[in-house]
């Protein structure tokens, strides 16, 4: 059968790419081979548009055990313990089928982590929806939240953090980014690199069905009005099987049975077998009739391209087959020897002893196209003039509107649907600056957070990229954790458009600059392009997942005000930058101007100094100032602690509105005991950190002379009612 233009197009390949395949193979591929090429050469699997820019990210550091390129990144947290973590997008499928799309996103990222020998100990997610008024948003929100919960709750991994955002730029493309943090022994990490010739290739887990065929290609294409017709490309999740697979794999990993292991994620059997062979510089031969199938008469093409979930490919040491088989049977999982490693360096596909396809591995991995796409720079926007008359605006009204805004308000409605306490080690719950889980049976804590700043990235990608790394760093510092490393999920529009490609390049450069400066390396990640519908793309939305270590959980900090009559200090300077703030958008109706500037020196200095204060037990509570500004941060600390605060207006020249609602960076609010003031100010001065006292905690009310006197109950109500009203 010859391959027509239409068939090539349907596989998401360009005619030029098809020509390249023919040249490399020195013949035309058959349909199965074309399918395999399309699975490996699509944007999602090949990183063909992003690779040359991702090289700019710093990926090495003292704590890095394994950087990008494996199933997940690995960092050293001492005592022979390693943290394995990664974030991944499931945007396209979640828009088409929110429950299953989100659920399988969670399932996929957990498999990436336990594939490496780590037991997942925390899940997080970052989800972005269109405007609340958009007709699809409510349904998508419900479906995604229930899907994330449905999967994570069943497997029994606590969901300890995340974020939920609404913005009209996601009307046609929602974002679902799922992150998993796992714990392994540092000397017992499993990798995907195959080795040895004639070793058994084992298929375990669920049977292969016809679901998710071309899922990775779908995730590499933009949408139009017919997006829903792509439903059959969405996989269906079975968290119960995932739980069994998790336990069975971790049990098999106890001894030396496994040479290498890889989950069948995007592009299923194709990408898992090719990646294992490519890394080991080997060949692999698969006998496809041996693949356990859910449906009758499945063709080799369907088997190779199915993205059925909860499946793993394992290369076993010789002689371990019967023991492994017994173990998987105990867990009621399918087990089949479907092939072997070879020295041919080819992917050889057989069906009932007949060769049905053969492709040199090299062509699928290293020879995949690489693009240096054109991109355009975004100029730093001019500062918005201060023409607006801020004096007419009331602090009280602004506070009320911002604290109840869907992007600022409490997300309890969301995270109450996620089991966040299973495993019995959650010591800081969702709704905090970072989620913290204790490393089981130790006094160490792992803090994790996931953050985005699409408005800043959209206004100026380079600054936005820096900012989101700093935001993540700050969230970890605020709980008393030393930031160690990050994973990123880069959600962007169409890379074939210069503007979108430019947003990507500059955000990546911003991320690189900040993470290098903060010694906060990138150890894993994922790129999601083509978040575009009918030519309208999302705002550039890189998500940063950060992990930090609390060496002694007795020193962990929470954000709730602890008692009356403590002093409240701001660490970091407030300059009054309102452009791109929630206040500017919601109260002034103003979308122009640059995002707040990032000064990496101050960021690092303020953060490490706060960690020093925390380490010396001088801090009662801390919270970083982010979206919404200073007053919102204080209100949040009041709500959590059910304690009020008396706040003074600034003595500086800054207008009180700018002072209270600007989103200047590198700032924290801290609550301290008056006895410690001298000690603390000495340390801050010694480190040249800017700080100021802004008030005291008190009973009941948040109070600013002549401006504001609100009971904490009332603020809490404002903060906590949006979701319930919206959903009902």
């Amino acid at each position: 059968m010859s391959i027509s233009k239409e068939v090539v197009e349907k596989h998401g390949l360009t005619q030029i790419e098809f020509q390249k395949i023919c040249e490399l193979l020195k013949r035309a591929p058959n349909l199965l081979e074309l399918g395999v090429f399309s699975a490996m050469w699509n944007e999602h699997c090949s990183y063909k548009s992003s690779k040359i820019h991702l090289k700019n990210l710093p990926t090495k550091g003292k704590v890095v055990v394994q950087g990008p390129g494996e199933n997940a990144g690995v960092i050293d947290v001492g005592d022979n313990q390693a943290i394995v973590f990664k974030v991944e997008s499931h945007n396209h499928p979640s828009f088409i089928e929110p429950y299953q799309g989100a659920a399988t996103g969670v399932g996929g990222i957990m498999r990436d982590v336990f594939t490496m020998g780590a037991r997942p100990i925390a899940n997080l997610n970052s989800i972005h929806f269109g405007s609340p008024d958009h007709s699809k948003t409510k349904n998508l929100l419900n479906g995604v939240v229930q899907g994330i919960g449905g999967y994570g709750n069943c497997v029994g991994i606590p969901t300890v953090g995340g974020e939920t955002h609404f913005d009209e730029s996601y009307n046609g493309n929602i974002l679902v980014n799922a992150m998993t943090v796992g714990l392994a022994n540092k000397d017992k990490i499993f990798y995907s690199k195959a080795s040895g010739i004639g070793k058994s290739v084992i298929y375990v887990g669920s049977k292969t069905g016809r679901d998710g065929i071309h899922g990775a290609s779908m995730a590499s294409a933009k949408f139009d009005n017919k997006a829903e017709e792509k439903k059959p490309t969405v996989q269906v999740g079975d968290p119960f099987t995932e739980k069994l697979l998790l336990e069975a794999c971790l049990e098999l990993m106890q001894d030396d049975s496994i040479i290498s292991i890889q989950d069948m994620g995007a592009a299923g059997l194709t990408s898992s077998s090719v990646e294992m062979a490519a890394k080991g510089k080997l060949g692999i031969e698969l006998n496809l009739e041996k693949v356990p199938c859910r449906e009758l008469n499945m063709t080799p093409y369907e088997m190779m391209l199915s993205e059925s979930q909860e499946r793993m490919l394992i290369i076993l040491n010789s002689g371990k087959e019967s023991k492994a088989k017994k173990l998987f049977e105990k867990w009621n999982l399918d087990f089949a020897i479907i092939g072997k490693t070879t020295n041919t360096k080819n992917l050889t596909l057989k069906f009932n002893n007949k060769k049905v396809g053969e492709i040199p591995i090299d062509l699928l991995s290293n020879k995949a196209p690489l693009y240096n796409r054109k991109w355009s720079k975004t100029k730093l926007p001019k500062k918005n003039s201060k023409s607006k008359n801020l004096n007419k605006i009331k602090i009280l009204d602004s506070l009320k509107r911002i604290i109840s805004h869907p992007n600022i308000c409490s997300k309890e409605w969301v995270w109450k649907q996620y089991d966040h306490t299973v495993m019995g080690d959650t010591i800081q719950k969702p709704g905090s600056d970072s989620g913290v889980v204790r490393i089981h049976k130790t006094n160490k804590g792992i803090a994790s957070t996931i953050d985005t700043s699409a408005d800043y990235c959209s206004a100026h990608p380079l600054t936005g990229g820096k900012q989101v790394v700093c935001e993540s760093w700050r969230n970890l510092i605020s709980v008393g954790a030393k930031p160690l490393a990050i994973t990123n999920c880069l959600n962007f529009g169409n890379p074939e458009k210069q503007k979108n490609m430019g947003e990507f390049v500059e955000c990546v450069n911003g991320i690189a600059e900040a993470s290098k400066y903060l010694d906060y390396p990138v150890v894993s990640g994922n790129v999601s392009f083509y978040n575009e519908t009918n030519e309208k793309s999302i705002k550039p939305t890189p998500a940063i997942g950060g992990v930090g270590l609390i060496k002694n959980i007795d020193k962990m900090i929470t954000m709730n005000f602890k008692k009356k009559n403590s002093d409240i200090y701001v660490i970091g300077r407030t300059n009054g930058h309102l452009d791109q703030s929630i206040f500017a958008r919601e109260i002034l109706g103003e979308k122009k101007g640059p995002p707040p500037e990032i000064n990496l020196f101050n960021e690092k200095n303020n953060g490490t100094t706060l960690l020093e204060l925390i380490d010396k037990n001088l801090i009662l509570s801390a919270h970083d100032i982010s979206s919404g500004g200073l007053l919102i941060a204080i209100a949040e600390m009041c709500i959590k602690g059910k304690i009020g605060a008396l706040i003074k207006k600034p003595k500086t020249l800054i207008n009180p509105i700018e002072y209270f609602f600007s989103e200047d960076q590198s700032r924290y609010i801290v609550e301290i005991n008056n006895d410690n003031v001298e000690n603390i100010t000495n340390i801050l001065n010694k480190n040249s950190v800017f700080f100021e006292k802004i008030g005291n905690t008190q009973e009941n009310n948040l109070f600013i002379q002549d401006e504001l006197d609100l009971s904490i109950d009332e603020i809490e109500k404002l903060n906590n009612s949006w979701f319930r009203k919206y959903i009902n």
Binding site: Q146, G149, G150, N153, C154, V155, G156, D238, P239, F240, T241, K243, L244, W331, N332, W415, K416, Q417, Y418, D419, H420, T421, V422, M423, G424, T426, I427, K429, R438, K441, I553
Partner: protein
Amino acid sequence: MLSSVIVFPGSNCDRDMAVALEKFGFKNSMVWHNDTELPKTDLIVLPGGFSYGDYLRCGCIGSKSKIIEKVIEFANKGGLVLGICNGFQILVEAGLLPGTLLRNKYLRFICKDVYLKIKNNSNTFYSKFKKDIIKLHIAHNEGNYFVKNDELKKLQDKNQIAFEYCDINGEVSESSNPNGSINNIAGVFNDNQNVLGMMPHPERMIDKYLSGNDGSLFFNNIKHKLSI
């Protein structure tokens, strides 16, 4: 003191329960659902989770596991059996406890701290409690307890209601009912009061770092009772 935690495919609070039992002095064994014999034991715990994925009906397939026959035998001889969350659902499906657990009233999974009013203070599980309101954690999708009126009356008459959801002051009302359970019931005993099923998770509240410590009261009390 010996305890046994039954592990079903899909259990996910089995480890947490074992950790709690060991912390309070039990020598614990994990018992696989397919086993046909129980080890020597003073207490059997059916842990939380999603046995068999909660497919068909929560706890239904789990209640047909081989080991359940032995658990029933053990219970009928007066042995102490505790079912938490999915374990409660299994006990109900196995016929060891009355009633049934329906989908939560608002059709959503709920994970939060709740206050519980202790209704029965004369049983083996927690007769020594000094408090009559405790704080525990719930995390479930099907915790909406239901029994028919005549059965409810029997439960009340025979003092078989273990806990009711209440507020911080002990007020039992619709607003303190997280899942729609009839009469705010959070846990029930069998006739002999040697089998207890409850939706809240005491094993998640056993040290000061977690959101509370009232689970410790629970385990300490069972230990105390068993050692007399």
